[in-house]
Amino acid sequence: MTATPAISIRDLRVSRGGNLVLPDISVEIEKGSVTGLLGPSGCGKTTLMRSIVGVQIVAGGTVEVLGRPAGSSDLRNRVGYVTQAPSVYGDLSVGENLDYFARVVGVSPERVAETIETVGLSGFTGRLVSSLSGGQRARVSLASALLNKPDLLVLDEPTVGLDPLLRAELWKTFHELAESGTTLLVSSHVMDEAGACDHLILIRDGRLLRHTTPEALRRETGENDLGRAFLKVIESDEEAA
């Protein structure tokens, strides 16, 4: 690949609360793709994402995003981050939340209606966010990150608590965004979502196990089911250790 990668991480070390969450991780993610970040809960997925967005204090190594050091001020309009817990105002309506974030990132009010439709919340514009279900709240949070069409979207478990139909729709949206040039990094601990990704990053205990594709993972392990394939990778990794 000749183009500069969307994300380039070299020898990243991160400690949180006295624990070395990421001892030493290096990985590159190419532009315009959907990459799944997979691993058991507590393995460092969120910490890795926080480092990419530039909100994490890191102990060592470099993280470059779109050719700039992570967290640079000129990246703030180009990188969208959706945390696992919906970070929107519960005491505002859906529309008021998005109107506010639209003003902050400087996009037109028409974009608000568009993004509300993208996440399937048309008809809920006037509803208070605190009165919505968990899945709906997560979608308001997602919508606020979509407003300014960022070049890189970092989504921490965006489909938790969503019904299968909506999940499938969101994954369709993710691929549409990728086709239009957006790079997506999506974490999940559900392996059945791995098949929907172009690339997979498997991590365990803060270490990179594999950077692969669903097909290559299936070929390597001889397992058709990606969940079982992941387990096999962990087993062979433990034998090697």
Partner: protein
Amino acid sequence: MSPRITLATGLRVLQQIRHDPRTIALLLLVPALLLTLMKYVFESEPRVFQQIGAPLCGLFPFIVMFLVTSITMLRERTTGTLERLMTLPMSKLDLLLGYALAFGLLAAAQALVICLVGFGLLGLNAPHGVLIIVGLAVLNALLGMSLGLLVSAFANTEFQAVQFMPAFIFPQLLLCGLFVARDQMAPLLEAVSWVMPFTWAYDALARAVSPQPLSGRVAVDAAVVLAVTIGSLIFGAMTLRRRTA
């Protein structure tokens, strides 16, 4: 910094409050009701009511805004919205001034109500006009807001934030001269009172409600209050971190 984002933030904070009519009612009515209660407690001593009640009209907004801001900011931290804002193209000052705008307006409304009740209905005297008291009240509210913003950085839970009120406000209230003249206090206490922002806020109000002619001291007091407000806003901005552990 961008006026667009500052205004949007002020509007957003006001919208949040608008969805909470009970808070609005409490904000506007409780100080006036307390003042009314005070009037009847001191019914036999109208001089004491004037001495304590009149300056209190301008001090209430300080206390209330301190509490409201520290809790609002704490909520912004714990719900993750602060972290989201810090990843957006928004300066810390946009956020703080947006808060100042919204809470300043709210404080003005609160001060108007309490002054209308106090000076209009309960017979308190404002020899130099009510407007100066409302103005000082707004200034004090902004001081309370900026101190609340600052201490919210040291609270991890709402329980802690609420405790900061007695810990931070009560000593200042006792030492500011409202209950006992400061020159009658032990020298150590009087010395301490000089470095407490509340003392200056009270001094300005005490002069504004006294029948003696207004001196330049009111302007000095107000300048000190303003300086502490700006100082703690700057410190508050420093506690807003884009990167956290």
